[in-house]
Structures are given as structure tokens and as C-alpha cells.
């Protein structure tokens, strides 16, 4: 190719670039982008986040109410009601933990609701001194939320009747007060985060651009973060001892004092993860636009998204083979816990490398030039 020819081609290129930069109306007509990312945000917000809050918030309110009832009348029936409602709410919580965004992030919703293992010494200390602030003192994250209730409802004695005797003892009135304080705090924070979601909904769903602070990028990053830390590390890795030289740490199992529900919680969590990825409406089977459909659009096929979904279902299968009680499982055969961890790690790889590559979503905390 001679130089004159090449230069004409370049002129043409420059012309085209200039044209495409300055003009839109003409080219818009026949060329349509067939994927609107805002629909992901709308689906996730309207069909997952808000319904999950609509489910969770009343459950927390009921839980708080039942604790008030229990403190008025310390009967076995009332204790059992509190315990049942605690389990219900804890399961529902698994669907919200990954959305550590906006008000939730600002108020440390996640830390206040579910920092485990809970610190027994701090709880006891708070109760004994009767001088504590659950709201602004970070040290008290481990002395409130579901794990603190776990200890106060199941950890004070071996049986419910003994627990009841404990609370009926007037000397332990402070425990009853603390129980109420923790529940009030949970309801208060939940109310605030829930109300904020309703408030910001319209703004939130329009922020679909590809930037560090856009809703879509934050959701995606939080989702991956939750999958890696909240699910893989906290529920399996740490208790199974993979970060501590094979020294298992059963006390780090979620809901340690009522650990018969630990598998139930883990399964809820992976359902939540899967549902978010598929854009599945909360408590329903219908699906909408999601990271999955976005991935399919970007890759022009479903290979990657189905590989991801397969990892989720493989993980579920493995979790289902575990004892309902992870504490038992760790003592009995910790290898199976590690197997789940490894399977989830395969999911982490797919989400962090393959998915982020394809979506070209920048990781929110990285800020530097490229070349």
C-alpha cells in the first residue's frame, strides 16, 4: 500500500471517528444496543432487594415484639416463640447481607447485624456495667445482632428450661434488658436502611454507568465480596480452619449456640447468591435481567454463565451432604467442610476473573493509570 492510499484511509478513519463523536441522532435510528443495564438495577431493586426488606423488616419487628412479651412474661412458650422468630429472621437476613450499599454501608448494618463469633466477654461486660453504646462503638459490633441473640437465647444454658430459670431469676434482670436493647437496635437500624432503600430507589436504578461509584458496579463488587468473604470465608473457611493451619474453629460457626440451623443458614445464603446472579424474584421462580443475562449478552453465549450456575448448584449439593449442624460436621469430618470451601473458591475464581474480565467492571477500590 502506498503512502497516499494509507493516508486517505486514515483521513476516512478520522472522519468517521469525528462523525461518531459529534453526531447521534442519525446513527441511533438503525443501530440499537440490545442490552439496557438499567433493567438489571430495576429488577434487582424491585424484585429482590425491596421484597427481601419487606419480608425481613416485619420479621425483625415481630422478633422485637416477642422479646418484649418474653420480658413481661418469662414463660417457656414465650421463649420458644422468640427462638422461632429469631430463626425465621436469621434466614431472611441471608438474603440481605450482600447488599452492603448506601445507608447499609453508612450505618454498618452488616456489622451490627451479623458479626460472629459473638464476644461473650463483651456482652457480659456490657450487661454487668450497664454502660454501653451499641450504635457508635465499633467494639460492640460483636456484642449485638443475631449472634448476640444466639448467645442470649441458646448459650446461657444447655436446655430451654434451664434458660428459662436463668431469666426468671431476678438477679438476671439485666440480661433481659440487654436482650431488649439488642432487639431494639436491630429493628431501628433495619427500619432506617429499609426506609432509605425506598427513598433512593429511583436514583439508584438510573445509575447504571460503568464507573467506580455507579450502582451497577457497587452491586457487582458487593456481590463478589459477599460470596468470597461472607459465604466462603466466614461460613466455611474460618470454622474449617483453612486460615489457621488445620486448627478447626467450631466456635466460629454461624449461629454457634444453636448450630443445628447452621446448614439451613448456609443454604439460604447460597440460594440468595444464586437468585441475585439469575435475577430471580424474591421467594418466586420468575427471573428478570441480571448479571447472568448481562454476561450472556457480552459473551454472545451462555457458556460462562452456565459454568457459574453449575458451581453454585455443585456447592449446594455438597452443602446438602453436610450435617445440619456444622459444629458436629467439623468434629466428625472436617474434610467435607473443606470440600465445600474449595468448591466455593472455584466460584470465586469465576466471578473475580472471568466475570469481571468480561464485564470490564473496575474493582471499586483500585485507582491508578493503565497504559
Amino acid at each position: 500500500m502506498n503512502i497516499k492510499k494509507t493516508s486517505y484511509i486514515y483521513l476516512l478513519i478520522a472522519f468517521l471517528i469525528a462523525l461518531s463523536c459529534s453526531d447521534s441522532s442519525d446513527s441511533n435510528e438503525n443501530v440499537v444496543d440490545n442490552f439496557d443495564r438499567q433493567t438489571i438495577l430495576e429488577n434487582v431493586t424491585d424484585n429482590i432487594i425491596l421484597p427481601a426488606f419487606d419480608d425481613f423488616n416485619p420479621k425483625i419487628a415481630q422478633l422485637k415484639e416477642s422479646i418484649t412479651q418474653f420480658s413481661i412474661s418469662t414463660t417457656l412458650a414465650n421463649l420458644e416463640t422468640v427462638q422461632e422468630l429469631w430463626v425465621d429472621a436469621y434466614k431472611s437476613w441471608q438474603h440481605l447481607e450482600m447488599f452492603n450499599i448506601a445507608k447499609a454501608e453508612e450505618l454498618y448494618f452488616l456489622q451490627k447485624m451479623n458479626t460472629y463469633p459473638t464476644s461473650v466477654s463483651r456482652i457480659e461486660n456490657n450487661i454487668n456495667t450497664n454502660n454501653y453504646n451499641l450504635d457508635s462503638n465499633n467494639n460492640n459490633w460483636s456484642a449485638q445482632g443475631f449472634p448476640a441473640l444466639d448467645y442470649l437465647l441458646f448459650g446461657l444454658a444447655d436446655t430451654n428450661s434451664e434458660t428459662l430459670i436463668f431469666y426468671q431469676n431476678d438477679e438476671n434482670l439485666a440480661y433481659l434488658n440487654y436482650l431488649q436493647a439488642v432487639a431494639s437496635q436491630m429493628l431501628q437500624v433495619t427500619d432506617m436502611v429499609h426506609q432509605d432503600w425506598i427513598l433512593i430507589r429511583d436514583v439508584f436504578v438510573t445509575s447504571s454507568e460503568n464507573s467506580a461509584t455507579s450502582s451497577l458496579n457497587m452491586l457487582t463488587n458487593d456481590f463478589i465480596y459477599y460470596f468470597e468473604k461472607g459465604l466462603r470465608t466466614n461460613k466455611f473457611g474460618i470454622p474449617a480452619g483453612v486460615f489457621s493451619g488445620n486448627n478447626t474453629r467450631a466456635a466460629n460457626v454461624e449461629a454457634y449456640y444453636n448450630s443445628t440451623i447452621s446448614k439451613t443458614l448456609a443454604l439460604e445464603a447460597i440460594e440468595a447468591v444464586e437468585g441475585f446472579f439469575k435475577g430471580q424474584t424474591y421467594n418466586s421462580t420468575s427471573t428478570g435481567e441480571s448479571l447472568k443475562s448481562y454476561l450472556d449478552y457480552m459473551t454472545d453465549n451462555t457458556t460462562l454463565s452456565s459454568t457459574v450456575l453449575m458451581k453454585f448448584s455443585d456447592s449446594k449439593l455438597l452443602i446438602n451432604t453436610l450435617d445440619d449442624n456444622f459444629v458436629n460436621q467439623i468434629v466428625l469430618n472436617n474434610e467435607l467442610m473443606i470440600d465445600v470451601f474449595n468448591k466455593l473458591q472455584e466460584g470465586v475464581v469465576l466471578l473475580k476473573t472471568d466475570m469481571l474480565s468480561v464485564l470490564s467492571i473496575s474493582v471499586d477500590y483500585i485507582d491508578a493509570d493503565g497504559d
Binding site: I3, K4, T6, S7, I9, Y10, L11, I13, A14, I17, A18, S20, C21, D23, S24, S27, N28, V31, V32, D33, N34, F35, R37, S208, E209, N210, S211, S214, G237, G241, V242, F243, S244, G245, N246, M298, T299, T303, L304, T307, Q345, V348, V349, L350, K352, T353, D354, L356, S357, V358, L359, S360, V363, Y365, I366, D367, A368, D369, G370, D371
Partner: protein, 457 residues
């Protein structure tokens, strides 16, 4: 033949291009450093991390705590002095040393255009960029109208090498036949006004940009070289780099390249820039009589033969170094042996996830490392897919845990990498004890081969 070579090296040419180049280069570097500081990157990239990735042979170059700021101050001041041509030789020497030191402190921040800046400032050590229109020329009351032509040509050659290799390395099957990784990157720019939802989503546009970029890089040095195509070439340079600026987070690089290519123009263009600069200064009520004198005398600058020799050797090395990847077996994009310092720019979308396992080789008990405990997010991102960094970090972890009293420490890595949209696959042999491996220029046999072939350079 020998005569014509000797003739070439004796040829004189206007000194104006060097003066203008010096001015632009110095100011851009000054701005770059101020920008770098103002974004808080000195803190986040050099002071915060407790561990730094070193270049082979330069392990002694490390950030020095808060004194690291001193390097940036010195570098910034010297860049400013270069721009105004004050004690030029010393200033450019200090600039070259301080800038290069900064770049060598941590491999994590390697960028081709930082390397380019180091190389250009090295060349500038040996050529008289202060011959005219400089404070030096004012203070010795002597300016030079001409300098040896090769001094200007050395900068042109350097730019030519960068563009040409950047183009040649785009000749590979991923780039040309699959429009990768541009396809992924452009598609994700859906939020650009007007073109985001339309042009950026079109497959033909991804191919158009891939092929266009390749042709642009390869031919631009030649188009700039010939007078007839020069103006068009410059328009293309501006258009191309502005486009990349809009699309990608590449900082100051586009501006550096745009202003650098002005060196290809004739001296009258450079005189115009000089006169324009004076007008600006006069607008700010500065006295410019002495400055005008600093480019009006008729002297001819002589350059030492040693300088010429150094530049010739240097240029030869620059032509060879980008080709060193040919000496290694395996897939270059995957193994990255000979990938740096070879003008491979924006060729890969590569992401990895590397989890390190510390094993007691006697008892086989193990634990995984939480990378957050040792590396910043930027470091983790870079380390996860670059074999030499994985190895260096592995050694660091091994030694760290040894010093913590762990026994029989062996370090393994479970590393998965995804390249240009391929499904991720295992990257490093998971049975390789990193503590037993040494980094060298030899082939890294412990990298698992890519299950695919990328044809081309």
C-alpha cells in the same frame, strides 16, 4: 558508504525542535508529577504497602517511607528546570535518576509510558536540548542556531520504535481475528454519551478499531517522517490519542505522545511555537529581550563523539530488547516472559485470582493466606496474573512465616487466570513449592501452558 554515514553524522540542523521538545517534555513531566501527588498515589502506591515488588537486579530500590516524597519533589523541580532550560545537563540527569528510581521502586505500577519517559530522558542526557531558547543560553550569552541532525533524529527514532513495535505486537490472532480485548473494553463503555449505546456495541466497530489501531501504530512513524503526509499524520496522532483518552484511563500518556510527535515537524513550525511562547510570556508582562537573544545567534553546536557512540549503542539495544520474547517457548501473553519493555500496550484483558497455601512439609498441615494482610488491592490485582510477581510474593510469604516460627515452610499457589475472554484456567503448577524456585531470565517451567494458541507476535 562510510563517507555517507560520516556525512550524516556531521550534518547540522536547526536547534529549535530540541528546544521545543525540551520545553514540552519538562512541563508535561512537571504536571504529571503534580497530578500523581494530588491524586494521593504516592501515599497509596508507595507508602501504604508494607511489601514492594522489585525488578530483577534492582531489589535495593525501595520506597523510603516519608522521604519518598522528597524523590517526587526533586523529580518535579528538575522537570521544571528542564522545561526552562536551567542548568540543563544537571537537571536532566537528576530527572532521569529520580524518575527512574521512582519507577523501579515497585513493579506493580509498571507502565510502558513511564518506561518511555525514562528512555527519553536518558537520550536527553546526551543531546543539547538547551542549545537555544533556554535560561542556560541566556546566562552564558551564547545560543546555537544549529545542532547535529542526529540528536534530533535520535528522539524521532525513539518515538518510531515505540509506535512501530506497538503496531507489530498487535499482529496476533486475538487482536485481529477476534477483536480481543477491544471487544470487551468497548462494549463496557455503554455509558459514553451518544456512542455508548450505539457504536461501542457494534461488532464491526470493534474490528475496525483493532485493525485501525494496528495500521495506525505501524505506519505513523513513516507518515510523520515524510513532509507530504506529515500534517495528516499529526491530525491522526491527535485524533487517535484523544480517542484513547476518552475510552481508557491512561492519564497523561496521550498528551505526552501528541506533544512529542511535534519533533517531526520542520524548524519553522518550532520557531512559531517559540514565538508563540514569547507572546504568552509578554502577555503576562514578562521581559523577553534576553530570551529573544537566546535563539538569534548563529553558532553551531558540537557534540562529543562519546555521546554519539552511547546513543548509537543505546538505540541498537532499544531495537533488540522488544524482540527478546522470541527466545522463550510458550505463549507470550500467558507466560509474560519478555512482555514488559516491549511496547505491548493494551493488548490483554487478563485477570487472575491467586490463593497462597502455606504448608508444613513434614506434617502436611496447611493454611491459606489472606492476601489483604500483605498487599494492597492494586498489588493483588497485578500480582494475581504475573508469574514473576507470584514467585516474589510467594518467597516473601514463606520467609515471613518462617520468621514467625513456622516450621518446614513450603509455599504453594492456587492460581487461576482468564485471558482475553477465555474461561479461566489454572496458571501455576499447584504442586510447585515456590520456596524452591528462583527467579531468573530462564524459562519458567512451573507455569502451566495455556490451553489455546494465539498466533502472531
Amino acid at each position: 558508504m562510510i563517507n555517507s554515514i560520516a556525512n550524516y553524522f556531521n550534518k547540522q540542523s536547526s536547534a529549535a525542535p530540541l528546544a521545543v521538545f525540551r520545553m514540552f517534555f519538562g512541563f508535561l513531566m512537571f504536571i504529571s508529577l503534580v497530578r500523581f501527588w494530588s491524586k494521593g498515589w504516592i501515599e497509596s502506591l508507595y507508602i501504604e504497602p508494607s511489601f514492594h515488588f522489585s525488578y530483577y537486579g534492582f531489589e535495593w530500590v525501595k520506597p523510603v517511607g516519608l522521604y519518598t516524597y522528597a524523590f517526587f519533589i526533586i523529580c518535579g523541580i528538575s522537570a521544571f528546570f528542564v522545561a526552562i532550560g536551567y542548568k540543563y545537563r544537571l537537571s536532566i540527569l537528576i530527572f532521569f535518576l529520580s524518575f527512574t528510581y521512582i519507577e523501579l521502586m515497585d513493579k506493580t505500577t509498571y507502565l510502558n509510558h513511564y518506561y518511555f519517559v525514562s528512555l527519553v530522558s536518558f537520550i536527553m542526557l546526551f543531546i543539547p536540548c538547551n542549545a537555544m531558547f533556554s535560561i542556560d543560553a541566556i546566562s552564558i550569552r551564547k545560543s546555537y542556531k544549529t545542532v547535529p541532525k542526529w540528536t534530533i533524529d535520535s528522539l524521532k527514532l525513539m518515538l518510531g520504535i515505540v509506535y512501530f513495535y506497538a503496531g507489530i505486537t498487535k499482529i496476533n490472532s486475538d487482536w485481529l481475528l477476534n477483536a480481543m480485548p477491544l471487544k470487551l473494553w468497548l462494549k463496557s463503555k455503554y455509558d459514553l454519551p451518544f456512542i455508548g449505546h450505539t457504536l461501542m456495541q457494534q461488532e464491526w466497530f470493534h474490528f475496525f478499531m483493532s485493525w485501525g489501531g494496528m495500521f495506525y501504530d505501524i505506519s505513523i512513524p513513516f507518515l510523520l517522517l515524510f513532509r507530504k503526509t506529515r500534517s495528516i499524520a499529526f491530525v491522526l496522532v491527535v485524533a487517535f490519542h484523544i480517542t484513547t483518552r476518552v475510552l481508557f484511563p491512561i492519564g497523561m500518556f496521550p498528551y505526552i505522545m501528541i506533544l512529542s510527535t511535534i519533533i517531526f515537524f520542520d524548524s519553522n513550525v518550532h520557531y512559531k511555537i517559540i514565538h508563540f511562547t514569547i507572546k504568552i510570556l509578554e502577555f503576562f508582562k514578562m521581559k523577553t529581550d534576553n530570551l529573544k537573544l537566546s535563539f538569534s545567534q548563529v553558532n553551531h553546536y558540537k557534540v562529543w563523539n562519546t555521546s554519539l557512540l552511547i546513543i548509537v549503542v543505546f538505540m541498537t539495544i532499544q531495537i533488540i530488547i522488544p524482540l527478546r520474547s522470541l527466545l522463550y517457548p510458550g505463549e507470550l501473553f500467558w507466560n509474560e516472559q519478555g512482555y514488559r519493555f516491549s511496547w505491548r500496550v493494551m493488548l490483554m484483558e487478563k485477570k487472575g485470582n491467586s490463593v497462597f497455601k502455606i504448608v508444613n512439609s513434614k506434617t502436611n498441615s496447611f493454611f491459606y493466606v489472606n492476601n489483604d494482610d500483605f498487599l494492597t488491592p492494586v498489588q493483588q490485582k497485578q500480582m494475581s496474573f504475573q508469574p514473576d510477581m507470584i514467585l516474589e510474593y510467594g518467597h516473601y510469604l514463606g520467609n515471613h512465616f518462617k520468621s514467625q516460627g513456622h516450621q518446614n515452610v513450603a509455599v504453594f499457589v492456587e492460581s487461576y487466570v482468564s485471558l482475553n475472554g477465555r474461561l479461566s484456567q489454572q496458571f501455576i503448577d499447584p504442586s510447585a513449592n515456590l520456596m524452591e524456585l528462583k527467579d531468573s531470565f530462564k524459562h519458567k517451567f512451573w507455569i502451566k501452558p495455556l490451553n489455546d494458541e494465539i498466533k502472531g507476535f
